[in-house]
Symmetry: C2
């Protein structure tokens, strides 16, 4: 395990916005990039070829879910997550920490790690920084994330400081364990991807001095990339944008910067404008299944009665299969009739919209027209909220 | 409305098995044909292009469901069912009668028709033979079915005789109404497909003399094709095969013969051997969603623990996307994790298996090797049941 499989190249900048690409053992990813969330080894309602068609170059897998079912050891025996799920392109896995904090039962956090009960069967588990590394080594993702402590919002400065310091200690332990694995001290861990990279995570809540310290400490550890965690948890959006801007510029310039869990189409554009290279979010997939569709002309709820006799496509600007083939009237009918096909068609559209947006962002940065693009996009986006 | 859009050509026979094709206003269908069931204007878990890829040339829509939601008048305003759902190929609609008998609440059958309450909202409705024709004219399917009375199994000979006689009277009313529509006496019905054909339905339960009378009376009415209804409702399979054989040979030779609601892969092969040209069944789609997969080597339940670490495809003989891309281990994981993608991948495989089987049947008839094909297929099929 060498970590040599990973490398980031910055192609061009336009203001603070960056256009680049990173290479992984499973191929290249153009940045700024959006990663559809494939929680349990499947992006809900999608087949892999639908993702390829929509333009996905990388997907995210949730370590918590895959660890509990079908299990990281079983996946390692299948040759790793890529082979198990049949997705030959890059995969990033989270550490499992976020789901332990949000999904698991009866969790107890100590300096050692997180004790919790499975939300599936109540079985007891202990997730330490080292175990989070080992599990992701078995999964064999191209990018593994460190285990961090997820701070609730709002939190006092003291709580935030204590939690952030613990996250930094955990990050060091994660890096040490990864370096052991790379050095061959696997202790029986079946490493599925020798070129796996590891990203640190900056915490600090909404306290910029804590964010600054966390960024400096995290950068000093020497990861292949850096994420900003703990945002989009309830703070006002302008606070989030401000923290992103002030944190991103303190991260290593020649590494990708990943904003975890964001966001809306506006968030993508606004945070690219603040120096972010990578995003993931359940919004396009989850909202699709609930009938909320993103379009260039506005966000629409397809269940709205006014679409019952609307023969137009979801988005006249969109070239996805759903928009090429079906009317709003049909999609509304499928949604009202609770047909599974509704989720599939809606998800394909929303992901196409997100991934097309990333493509347009990348082109605008290359052409140094990103600011114009951003103004126009946000003007459209402000119409979006009228119908949501 | 002329009915001229429809025509059946018999290409070759091999024993009683027939190879042919029929033309409709929306294209040709090779027979023997299997029609995936698209209950509410969508074959569950499929997108239309998946159906095309699997080899579907025609799908079935359920009039009862579409009449209640979104409504036949709305569909007519959209230009008919084909345009509404974005499926440019042939569609057959049933009459709605079967669902009135199996799904609706508080139904009362009189000579006039069937009074019932919607299973969706309890609203009262009256389905007469004439209304079944009008509704299907609005839907604009390529083949419309007459309204018949669905006899419960078991039924006494007297019950079966009374019911069969009523179905023949209803069939005559359906034909009269269709001829009125074709003659331009639409009474405001918005006819969506001027070339729509109409098929009669032979009833008679398991009483062959009633079947013979029904076949003769139905043939005399002068439909474009003939169906055998009221089978697969609980009678032993050899009784069904016997009724199919003795009824099919009394149906017009130069029209397609459609066995409604059957069946298993074995049923398809056995009933082609008895002269059937068309089939529909929810088995491949419904069973797929329940994890039961049809393969050339046996029927398997993908949730079975023995597939947890099985890296092979569902069916090594199958070239569908699911089999090309994914292992049994992954499909089992998706099923156990209740991922929507499981239903989509499983359905694509099962429909591919069914439609490939039809293709092999057609080739075997053309080559006059159908009997050999049938023996080999049934030998494999007898292995199927071991795991079901």
């Amino acid at each position: 395990m060498s970590g040599n499989g990973f490398g980031f190249t910055l192609h061009s900048t336009d203001g603070v916005a960056r256009r680049g690409e990173f290479k992984t053992p499973h191929g290249l990813v153009q940045t700024p990039a959006f990663m559809p969330v494939g929680t349990q080894g499947s992006v809900k309602a999608m087949r892999h070829r639908d993702l390829e068609e929509a333009g996905a170059q990388i997907i995210l897998g949730n370590t918590y879910h895959l660890y509990l079912r079908p299990g990281d050891e079983l996946i390692a025996r299948r040759g790793g997550l890529h082979r198990f799920i049949g997705w030959p392109h890059p995969i990033l896995t989270d550490s499992g920490g976020y789901q332990v904090f949000s999904l698991a039962d009866r969790r107890t956090i100590t300096e050692d790690g997180a004790e919790f009960r499975s939300h599936l069967d109540g079985s007891p588990h202990l997730l330490t920084p080292e175990r989070a590394v080992d599990i992701q080594a078995r999964l064999g993702s191209d990018i593994a994330m460190v285990l961090d402590e997820c701070l609730a919002y709002p939190a006092s400065r003291d709580e935030a400081a204590r939690s952030t310091e613990r996250s930094v200690r955990w990050a060091r332990r994660c890096r040490s364990r990864l370096l052991e694995l790379r050095g061959g001290r696997t202790d029986g861990v079946d490493v599925s991807n020798a070129g796996q990279a590891q990203f640190g995570i900056v915490q600090g809540g909404v306290f910029q001095d804590l964010r600054d310290e966390s960024a400096a400490s995290t950068a000093a550890i020497g990861f292949e990339g850096c994420a900003i965690g703990g945002l989009g948890v309830g703070e006002p959006v302008d606070v989030m944008y401000s923290v992103v801007a002030d944190t991103a510029r303190r991260l290593p310039e020649h590494q990708p910067r990943y904003l975890m869990g964001a966001g809306t189409p506006q968030d993508l554009v606004e945070c690219v404008a603040r120096g972010i290279d990578m995003f993931d979010c359940v919004l396009p997939t989850r909202n699709a299944r609930n009938g909320q569709l993103f379009t260039s002309e506005g966000r629409i709820n397809i269940k709205n009665a006014r679409f019952a006799e609307d023969d137009g496509p979801v988005d006249p600007q969109c070239g996805c299969y759903t928009c090429r083939t079906h009317s709003r009237a049909y999609l509304r009918h499928l949604y009202m009739a609770a047909e599974m096909t509704a989720g599939a068609l809606n998800t394909l559209h929303n992901l196409s919209f997100y991934l097309d947006t990333m493509q347009r962002i990348r082109e605008a940065i290359s052409l140094r027209t990103f600011d114009t693009f951003r103004q126009e996009f946000l003007r459209s986006a402000s119409r979006l909220s009228l119908d949501s």
